[in-house]
Symmetry: C2
C-alpha cells in the first residue's frame, strides 16, 4: 500500500503536468439472458514506470433490490464461479506485452491508495478517530490506506448492515495490523465524533447524511452515491478523483437496465455537479488547497476510475512479482507477431 | 474470406438494427525516445456470435518521409523484431475469456471483407477489369475480397511504386488463386479502363486523382487519404465504413508528431466531410441505395476501424481454430479470479 500510494502520487503529478495520459473509461453493454453483459475498458500510460496498461472487465451484471436499496451485483459466471477482470501491461519502449494479471486485488489497492491520498490532503493531521462504513473487499484497502497516511489513528470503528461480516472483518484485520478494531451496531455509533469517515460499500443509494456530518470531519467515498448531495453541498471542500463525470457508454437498443440506474451503476436522480470540483491531481500538484482550517468539513469522492491507476499499480506489482519469482512465465512470442498489424 | 464477408454482413445488419454494439477506437500517445508510443484500443460485441472482443495495439510509431510523401511506419520493436497487436475474445454468457490471438491476419481479413462488401454494393455487377494499387499485406486481402464478390473478374492489374514487390505479389497470388495477375509499371496503366480500383497502400497522401476517375468506375480505399478530395467530390456516390470521423485521441503534452499528420496517421489538410456520407451498415440494411446506374462513379472508404469487426472475425476464427485443433490451450483460470473486480 505504501508503494501504491507513492507511485500514484508521482503519477498524478505527471498527469497534472501533462506527461502521463489516460483514456476515459468506456462501458459497452448488451442483454445476456435476464442479465446484462458489460465490456468495460480503460487505458493509461505511466511514462515514469515505462508502461502502458489496458484494464478489461468482462462482466455479467444484475441490479437486485436488497432491502430498500438497489445494488449493482456482478455475477461470477465464468467456470468455477469466477469473475473476469484483466490488466495487460505493455512496454512503452518496445511495445511488447510484459504481464497479464487479474484486476481484483489491484482494483481495490488503487481505490484504497487513491482514497488515502485524498485523506492525506483533506483530513486533519491530528485525526485520532476513524470510522469505516462497509466490511467487504473495498473496506480492507480503505483501512490499509488509512494506516499508511494517518498512522497515529487511535480508534477505528467498523459498521456495515451485516454484523457477522463486521465481526469477521475486525478479526481478520486486527490480526493483520495488530491493532484493535471496534465493531459497532449502527452507522451513527460509528461516525459520531469521528475525524475521518471512509465509506466503502456497494450501495447505489446515499448512506452518509447531513445529520452525520460534523465540523472538522473528513468523509471519503469509493463512489459518488454514498455521500448524499446535501452533505456535498454542506462541505467546505469537495475534491474528486478526476471530475470526468461519466464513462463513454455504448449500449444495444434492446437493453433494459433499472430506471434508477445508469449503466455506471448508481442513482442519477440525486445530482451534484462534480465537474466543478477540484481533482486529486490538482490537489497533489498544489494547484488547489487541501484542508486549510481544522473545523472544515471535507469530502473526497472516487468519481471514476482511470486506466492510469492500473498502469501504475500493475506496473509496480509486476516488478514486485518478478523480484519475488511469483507468476507464470508465458512466452512473449505467443503474444506478438511478425505480421504488420 | 467468404465466411468473414458473410459474418460481417450479418453483424452490420445487427449494428444497423441496434443489436450489435461497438466502442469508438481510442489512441493514447506518449513520446518514446525519438518515436511515439501508441496504445490503441477498440471494443465490440457481436451478440449473434455470443462474443465480445477487445483489440489492442501497442505500437512504436514513426513518420518517415519516403520520396516525396510521408508514411506512418510501425516499428517491430518487440523481441525478435515483432509487432504487438492482440485480440481478446470473451463470452457474453459467462464473461470468461475464450481466446487471445494476434491481430495481424485478422486485421487485414476484416479490411478486405469490409471493402468487399462495399465493392459488392457499389461496383458494377458486370465488372470485368480491376486494378489493385499496392502490393503489400493489405493488397492481398483486397484481392481475396474482390474474388469473393466479383468472381467473374477477368483482368487484374497490380501496381505499386516498388516493381520487385509487385512481381513477388503477382507470383504468390497467381499461384494461390490459379488466376493471372498483370504487373504494370504505372498507376495510369493500372487504372485505365478498369471497372474496379482498389487502393491498399500505406500512403498518407492522396494517390488516386480526378484524371484517373472514369465514368462507371468504383474505387475503394483502405484509408481516407488515398482517394483525393476532388475525386470524392466528383463521385456520384461515396460510402464510408462508419462515418465516425476520428478516434478519441489522448496524448501527453510533450508529444511531437509531424505537422501534417494527425495522431491517426494521415493528412488533415485535405478535408472532406465523411460524416455526411452513408455508411456500410446503412448500405447493407437497405437504408440507402448502392449503385443505381452503370455510368456512376462510386467510392468506398474505410474511414475508421470498429471493435465490432474484430469481435466478428476473431469470433469465427476462434471457431475455425477450435474445430481444426489449432492453437495453444491456456487454462481459463489464470485469466479469471475469485476476487470481485
Amino acid at each position: 500500500m505504501d508503494q501504491c500510494i507513492d507511485a500514484l502520487h508521482d503519477a498524478y503529478l505527471d498527469f497534472a503536468s501533462g506527461a502521463a495520459v489516460t483514456r476515459q473509461r468506456s462501458d459497452t453493454l448488451v442483454p445476456s439472458g435476464k442479465s446484462v453483459y458489460g465490456l468495460k475498458t480503460m487505458d493509461g500510460i505511466a511514462p515514469r514506470l515505462g508502461v502502458g496498461a489496458v484494464r478489461i472487465n468482462s462482466d455479467i451484471v444484475t441490479w437486485p433490490k436488497i432491502g430498500d436499496s438497489y445494488r449493482r451485483v456482478k455475477v461470477p459466471a465464468a467456470p468455477g464461479s469466477r469473475y473476469t477482470g484483466l490488466i495487460l501491461v505493455f512496454s512503452i519502449e518496445t511495445g511488447e506485452p510484459l504481464a497479464i494479471m487479474p484486476d481484483g486485488v489491484i482494483q481495490r489497492m488503487r481505490v484504497g491508495a487513491t482514497s488515502a491520498l485524498g485523506t492525506h490532503h483533506l483530513a486533519r493531521a491530528d485525526s485520532r478517530t476513524a470510522a469505516i462504513i462497509g466490511s467487504g473487499w473495498q473496506a480492507g484497502s480503505q483501512l490499509m490506506g488509512l494506516f499508511a497516511v494517518r498512522p497515529d489513528i487511535e480508534v477505528i470503528r467498523i459498521f456495515s448492515p451485516n454484523p457477522e461480516n463486521v465481526k469477521t472483518f475486525c478479526r481478520a484485520w486486527s490480526q493483520q495490523f495488530n491493532r484493535e478494531l471496534h465493531a459497532v451496531d449502527s452507522l451513527i455509533e460509528a461516525v459520531e465524533g469521528a475525524d475521518i469517515v471512509l465509506c466503502a460499500t456497494s450501495s447505489i443509494d446515499s448512506l452518509f447524511e447531513v445529520e452525520h456530518f460534523e465540523a472538522g470531519m473528513h468523509v471519503g467515498s469509493i463512489k459518488p452515491p454514498e455521500i448524499s448531495r446535501q452533505c456535498l453541498e454542506l462541505a467546505d471542500r469537495v475534491c474528486v478523483h478526476v471530475g470526468h463525470g461519466k464513462p463513454i457508454l455504448t449500449q444495444s437498443d434492446d437493453l433494459i437496465v433499472p430506471d434508477h440506474s445508469s449503466g455506471r451503476g448508481w442513482s442519477i436522480s440525486d445530482k451534484f455537479d462534480f465537474a466543478v470540483c477540484p481533482t486529486l491531481p490538482e490537489l497533489i500538484s498544489g494547484a488547489v488547497n487541501g484542508r486549510v482550517k481544522p473545523q472544515e468539513r471535507t469530502c473526497f469522492v472516487n468519481d471514476l476510475g482511470l486506466g492510469l491507476q492500473f498502469a501504475v499499480v500493475a506496473g509496480i506489482t509486476m516488478r514486485l512479482a518478478l523480484s519475488a519469482g511469483i507468476g507464470q512465465d508465458l512466452p512473449t512470442e505467443i503474444f506478438t507477431q511478425l505480421e504488420h498489424p
